[in-house]
Amino acid sequence: MSIEQADMLLGLSAADAARVGALGSRMHVPTGAALFELGSEAHDVFIIERGRVALTLPMVFGDRQEHILVEERTAGQLVGWSGLIPPHRFTLKAAAQIDTEVLALPRGPLLAFFEANPAVGYVVLRNLASVVGQRLQVTQAMWLREMQRFVESRSS
């Protein structure tokens, strides 16, 4: 996957995408290892270069707590957008389902680059809004489906 194919960088020229990519550092996340934990401070956003990341939330089963899959992200997709959105705390846990490589983009240098290159910042933040909006819409639809089932179970 080339860097400009990442969903966060769609619409940028290859040169601009490479300049954004140069701000980051590559991280290897072995199978089962956590990329970030729920509630921890979010300093970076991550572009998955290879592998697959599970985003999970905790659920309690009796006296056990289990991490329940909420979403999966694969190569080219963005995880950890809390790194760019206040209050900069992760609202999910991310862990590698298979051997994974990510590009970690730190917030400080990234925002400084956007200020210096507003056209790039505009495209990236528009892409980010698209990712956030898509997740919101999916969650709304899932929630309403559950509500419909709840109503049906109450009326039957």
């Binding site: 089963f61 056990r64 289990e66 899959l69 969650t139 639809a141 899932m142 489906r145 419909q148």
Partner: protein, 113 residues
Amino acid sequence: MVMFLMVLCMSVFGLAVCGLAFGAATRGLPTGEETPLTAAVDERLAAVPERFFVRDAAPLPAPAARVVPKVPIEVFLAQIERHIRLEQAAAESFLSAPSPESLHGRTVSPLVH
């Protein structure tokens, strides 16, 4: 005459044997005077309102609380994971073609059936 007397004797003898047999069979059974009728009525039946054409059977005991089969936690987690994947797919399908029908389309998830 002899024949008549013989038949008469045999009839009296047979009647006596039947009487003895009846007495032996009914000895020791409670009579209506000894046991009041109300005591023999099932209390649960008394609670049921009388209706025509309804079989006079005792009411069934209240059903016990629904027993939820205990599934190993790993199996349950796998079911939840599958359910979430199916729900996400259904939600994404709704977003690609929004309509009330696509929003509430059914899935094959075992957790909702």
